[in-house]
């Protein structure tokens, strides 16, 4: 009989990522509801001390797979280690983060375990022992509720910046279990050649708390400097609409929308973005949406919580000044 919740925690460069704390916290909430034990698993090399931090967020057991071959994430090796753990422990639920790494890993693991995986969820609840997962489809144009009735474990990944992090409680402790790592050559067919850190030092759009985004109204790539300056004041990441990316004003990785990144910040400031349906889908779940556009009929205003009808080249620098006063 399957029991317990296992959270796949993610570290990079020996440091746990924020998404791991979000998912362990959500695991704790589900474990409390159902009276199940909560475990977490961390893979890497030289990560045992860092892994122990998950105890404060509610993990009762922390599995650590520490080996040189696991220093850098690769999907085959990580899938094999976690699949072996799941087969041995038979958890009822396995959770992970819907980060770049987490999505790939969970998808591969679910296929290996022949179970169902609810990807990129924004809500998780338990109903008669079943994990009911709520997830956007069509980039958020509709929401689905999905369930894995019979196969075990039930698997889900959670969208970054959705599940709140519990206040760490240093009085909590966890049993740390070191896992035997036995990999076959076929687990090591992929290797990391190099990792190039982004020069911007900005949080990725998918994990950003604030986003300032520009569209066709920016008129030229060089004008994005005013968004960068505003973003610097509030600690935001700069995004762009598809038309701004297609015009070559911003790199592809900045695109927000149905064929770009689906984002979920606490605040999204849309500047000179009219609000094409694909864009609205990609940022529609932002907690607060602010629109600056000179066209009062722009569809973006129908999604916005706050709007300023005006010339963004006038408005944005003034917003920067006003934010400076309170930051």
């Amino acid at each position: 009989m399957a029991k317990g919740i296992l959270v796949i925690a993610e570290q990079r460069g020996g440091t746990l990522r924020k998404i791991s704390l979000e998912m362990v916290s959500e695991g704790r909430r589900l474990a409390d509801q159902s009276g199940q034990p909560l475990a977490a698993v961390v893979l890497g090399h030289g990560i045992a001390e860092e892994a122990k931090k998950l105890a404060a967020y509610g993990a009762e057991t922390i599995y650590v797979a520490d080996a040189p071959e696991l220093k850098y994430y690769t999907p085959e090796a990580y899938t094999t280690v976690i699949a072996n753990l799941v087969k041995a422990q038979e958890p009822d639920i396995v959770l992970g983060g819907a980060s770049q790494q987490g999505k790939e890993l969970a998808a591969k693991l679910a296929a290996r375990l022949e179970t169902g995986l609810a990807m990129d969820c924004v809500g998780l609840r338990l109903e008669d022992g079943l994990l009911i997962a709520r997830r956007p489809m069509y980039a958020g144009k509709v929401y689905a509720e999905v369930v894995c009735e019979t196969a075990r474990p039930q698997m889900a990944t959670g969208r970054p910046n959705v599940f709140s992090i519990l206040e760490p409680d240093s009085s909590r402790s966890a049993e740390v279990v070191n896992l035997e790592v036995a990999l076959k050559p076929e687990d090591l067919r992929t290797s990391l050649v190099e990792e190039l850190a982004d020069q911007t030092g900005k949080v990725d759009l998918t994990e950003a708390v604030y986003i300032v985004s520009g569209g066709r109204g920016m008129k030229d790539g060089s004008n994005f400097i005013i968004l960068e300056k505003l973003a610097d004041v509030i600690g935001a990441t700069v995004g762009a609409s598809r038309s701004a990316v297609d015009a070559g004003w911003r790199p592809q990785c900045d695109q927000v929308g149905q064929t770009g990144k689906v984002v979920n910040p606490n605040m999204y400031i849309a500047c000179g973005i009219s609000g094409a349906i694909q864009h609205l889908a990609g940022m529609g779940s932002s907690k607060v949406i602010v629109a600056v556009n000179k066209d009062p009929d722009a569809p973006i205003f129908q999604k916005a919580d706050y709007g300023i009808v005006g010339d963004l080249f006038e408005v944005v620098p003034l917003l920067e000044e006003e934010f400076k006063k309170i930051m």
């Binding site: 690769t74 995986l117 929401y143 999905v146 894995c148 990725d204 694909q278 003034l318």
Partner: protein, 264 residues
């Protein structure tokens, strides 16, 4: 190089998605169906590799008759052959059930490289490529923006943007790559290309041809089931900030963000 590209047909991203009366599907009456945009990058990359190194590009699609249009589009772009798995029992599956169909269709075909879109823009699942790599037991390289085949054609080096960094990864071939925007700029089919595509081989397969039973695939073979679809949460009506001057508006907005929305 023998290269396979998996293609899904999806509603055009312009589509207003409306939930049907059953509450588990979408209204399909007025939908314009297109090749999943991420799959176009796969077709283009496969063609570029073929143009450089020689070989053959085969495209594979699962779904109803309309899927032929997307397969023909790929053939018109320059792909050599197409396989269409056209069997109602294969439709409506979760990622693993769909990957099972693709794997069965792919196994008889020699391949060095497989491309899938990093996700389909309809169900946003981002799982079929990974599941397919498991079933075929080949390395998986996800969300890739650059592909380089080694001179001896035994290895592939790829670039993968992740949060805050870019990974350069290397893997043995055969391998499965899922494509991300930025990989290339897909070509348009030329008129001669469209004419030629009509004569290119397009094999139609039923589940029985692939050695699959209906209960292994489609909804029957799925572990994950859809309970309901709902519209996105309603947003409360917004406020247009009024003021005598732009300065006033900016000040009021920031005040509201701090005191009313409590977001900053």
């Amino acid at each position: 190089m023998n290269i396979l590209v998996c293609i899904k047909q999806v509603p055009d991203t312009e589509t207003q998605i409306k939930i049907d009366s059953g509450g588990k599907g979408i209204q399909t009456a007025d939908i314009k169906w297109v090749m999943n945009p991420y799959d176009e990058f796969g077709v283009e990359e496969a063609l570029r590799i073929k143009e450089k190194l020689g070989g053959k590009v085969t495209v594979i699609g699962v779904g109803p008759q309309r899927v032929v249009e997307s397969l023909r589009t790929a053939l018109a772009m320059g792909a050599d052959e197409a396989i269409h798995v056209d069997d109602p029992a294969a439709d409506g599956g979760d990622a693993l059930a769909t990957a099972r169909v693709l794997a069965a269709a792919i196994r008889p075909v020699p391949f060095d490289l497989i491309f899938c879109g990093q996700r389909a823009v309809d169900d946003d699942n981002a799982q079929v490529g990974a599941a397919l790599s498991e079933l075929l037991n080949i390395p998986l390289l996800s969300v890739i923006t650059k592909v380089e085949i080694s001179e001896d054609k035994t290895k592939v080096k790829v670039t993968r943007p992740v949060e805050g960094a870019t990974w350069v990864l290397e893997s043995s071939l055969p391998a499965l790559i899922t494509t991300q925007k930025g990989l290339n700029e897909p070509r348009y089919a030329s008129l001669p290309g469209i004419m030629k595509a009509k004569k290119k081989p397009l094999a139609v397969k039923k589940l029985a041809d692939l050695g699959l039973a209906p209960e292994q695939v489609g909804a029957a073979g799925s572990k994950l089931t859809l309970r309901s679809l709902t519209p996105p949460p309603e947003r409360k009506p917004g406020k247009i900030i009024e003021g005598e001057t732009v300065q006033e508006k900016a000040a009021l907005l920031v005040k509201l963000l701090r005191e009313e929305a409590k977001i900053i």
